[in-house]
């Protein structure tokens, strides 16, 4: 078997499995798992890491340290359930939509018509990653901004842990294109931005091409309508009707492609990932700020460590109680023995 055959074989897996994989799953229930050993280990790790950070020189850019931090915490966080599984496939559909609008060949009309188009048709997309210490406040501000710009939320996922302060929110927003820039700049104001990527795709050519096809088909339809009115035999009429129905089909298909394209152009897509952090990734690189940053991180790390340790100790209380009882029992037995010996 070669790799292509294996790929083909994977295609033959059960329909139900494929269907399941098109729905986002939530991993509920795991949040209630209570494993003292893991807690103690986690607390110890926190303490060690917290104290280690104190002495470590800061390296790399802000974004990198934020990434490693989120990776490190992710293994100990639990998902609080994904929002809206029904959006799962819709997102993919939207992504692929520009592809559906592009057709091959017959571009000779387009170039001539391109000059007539006054506005460029551009699809804007952006990805934004930010962090905040006031998670709930920032999230509310962000959603308010979307509302204010007349946009809407297409899909969202949230998760993380309130206890450890590592909640995150992943969402894709659709914003009216004329307010896209305004939204991006105001959204950057609500949190500390660690990553921003913008993309624009010029689809003017495709748009004009579609327009040209539709108008040419409509002319044809008009002509056929006239012919149908003049038709003398039933055979002619049936033939013309057949032609007409295939024209209608093409018109409908181009029309739907056009609508998809228009939707993409009029509403730009902004993907935002907001994460809760204890300390904001620094944006300046001067020695003084790095020193103060090291102090802050050291202190928060230390506090985290202490909290973890206390929680760890509390979480093994049955063991401690048992140990205390044992100690008391042993001491009483020893005292009795000493008393006997002295008698």
């Amino acid at each position: 078997m070669n790799k292509e055959q294996l790929f083909e074989a994977i295609g033959e897996v059960d329909d139900s499995l494929v269907e399941q994989a098109s729905v986002k799953q939530s991993r509920k229930g795991r949040i209630f798992h209570f494993r003292p050993a893991a807690w103690v280990a986690a607390a110890a790790c926190c303490l060690v890491v917290g104290t280690a950070i104190l002495g470590l020189p800061k390296k790399g850019m802000g974004a990198t340290s934020a990434d490693t931090a989120s990776n490190a915490t992710a293994s100990s966080t639990q998902e609080a359930g994904g929002a809206g599984p029904e959006y799962a496939m819709d997102m993919v559909t939207e992504d692929a939509a520009p592809g559906a609008a592009v057709m091959d060949g017959s571009a000779q009309n387009s170039t001539a018509k391109l000059a007539e188009v006054t506005t460029q048709k551009v699809i804007y997309t952006a990805e934004l990653e930010m962090e905040s210490t006031q998670y709930e406040e920032t999230l509310a501000q962000l959603l308010a901004k979307v509302e204010e710009m007349g946009g809407y939320q297409e899909s969202s996922t949230q998760g993380g842990s309130l206890e450890y302060g590592t909640r995150w929110y992943n969402a894709s927003f659709r914003i009216p294109s004329d307010r896209y820039e305004e939204f991006l700049s105001s959204a950057q104001g609500v949190g500390n931005v660690t990553w921003l990527s913008q993309d624009s795709q010029d689809v003017t050519l495709e748009y004009v091409d579609l327009e040209a096809r539709i108008s040419s088909l409509e002319t044809q339809r008009q002509r056929l309508d006239e012919l149908a009115a003049q038709a003398e035999t039933v055979e002619d009429l049936i033939y013309i009707q057949g032609q007409l129905s295939s024209l209608e089909y093409q018109l409908e298909s181009y029309g739907s492609q056009m609508r998809v394209l228009e939707n993409q152009v009029s509403m730009s897509t902004v993907t935002v990932r907001l994460s809760e952090v204890a300390t904001i990734t620094p944006v300046t690189n001067s020695f003084a700020s790095r020193v103060s940053d090291a102090f802050t991180r050291g202190w928060t790390g230390f506090l985290d460590g202490i909290q973890g340790l206390i929680l760890g100790i509390i979480s093994v209380w049955p063991v401690l109680l048992l140990a205390a009882v044992l100690v008391v029992v042993i001491i009483t037995i020893r005292k009795k023995r000493i008393n006997k010996n002295s008698k």
Binding site: L17, Q20, G99
Partner: protein
């Protein structure tokens, strides 16, 4: 339009069935084709081939799950295109196949014929025994052809975790296939 209504139109050889299927599953299929082929023109052609293929195959076949059926058809057509283009020159969507090569032992076993359906059933059994997240990641990556980053985002796990989960799943799949006696 309801799937059954679409299928009835297909059986009645009514082209509105095609329009219905294209309207309902066009996005789904273009997403798969786009994932695998990476080029808008190729994906568009591949999706058009999918409608043609379904038109030819559907009577007599009556798929139980039209969405997955069309997706699978589109995926197979995309694979054919990949085969054709990689025969000419390497590039485009091959990374995914290179990853799958890890599941193969490399030895040639010409006496055992390859059967996609049988191997597919073995893979299904293997996936049913997997952790749900690992299963979804595997199918997002190797069925839908998504990039690791997209698959990770879909499952809400970090990219690093997704990569290592996928790698472990591949290793386990190799063992499972060997155990099942499927030639790998």
């Amino acid at each position: 339009m309801d799937d059954n209504a679409i299928l009835d139109l297909y059986f009645a050889r009514d082209e509105r069935g095609l329009t219905g299927a294209a309207a309902k599953y066009g996005g789904y299929c273009s997403a798969i084709a786009m994932n695998l082929l990476g080029k808008i023109q190729d994906a568009e052609e591949c999706v058009n081939d999918t409608w043609l293929g379904s038109w030819r195959a559907i009577p007599p076949t009556r798929p139980l799950n039209l969405r997955v059926y069309l997706g699978r058809l589109c995926r197979n057509l995309a694979l054919n295109r990949l085969r054709y283009s990689s025969a000419q020159k390497r590039g485009g969507g091959i990374a995914l196949l290179e990853e799958l090569e890890e599941c193969l032992s490399g030895g040639q076993t010409p006496d055992q014929a390859f059967d996609a359906k049988e191997t597919g059933a073995a893979i299904s059994r293997f996936l049913e025994g997997c952790d749900p997240t690992a299963r979804t990641l595997f199918l997002r990556r190797y069925w839908y052809g998504e990039s690791v980053a997209d698959a990770a985002r879909f499952c809400g796990v970090p990219v690093g975790t997704a990569k290592s989960t996928l790698s472990r799943t591949r290793t386990k799949l190799k063992e499972a296939l060997e155990k099942e006696g499927v030639c790998v």
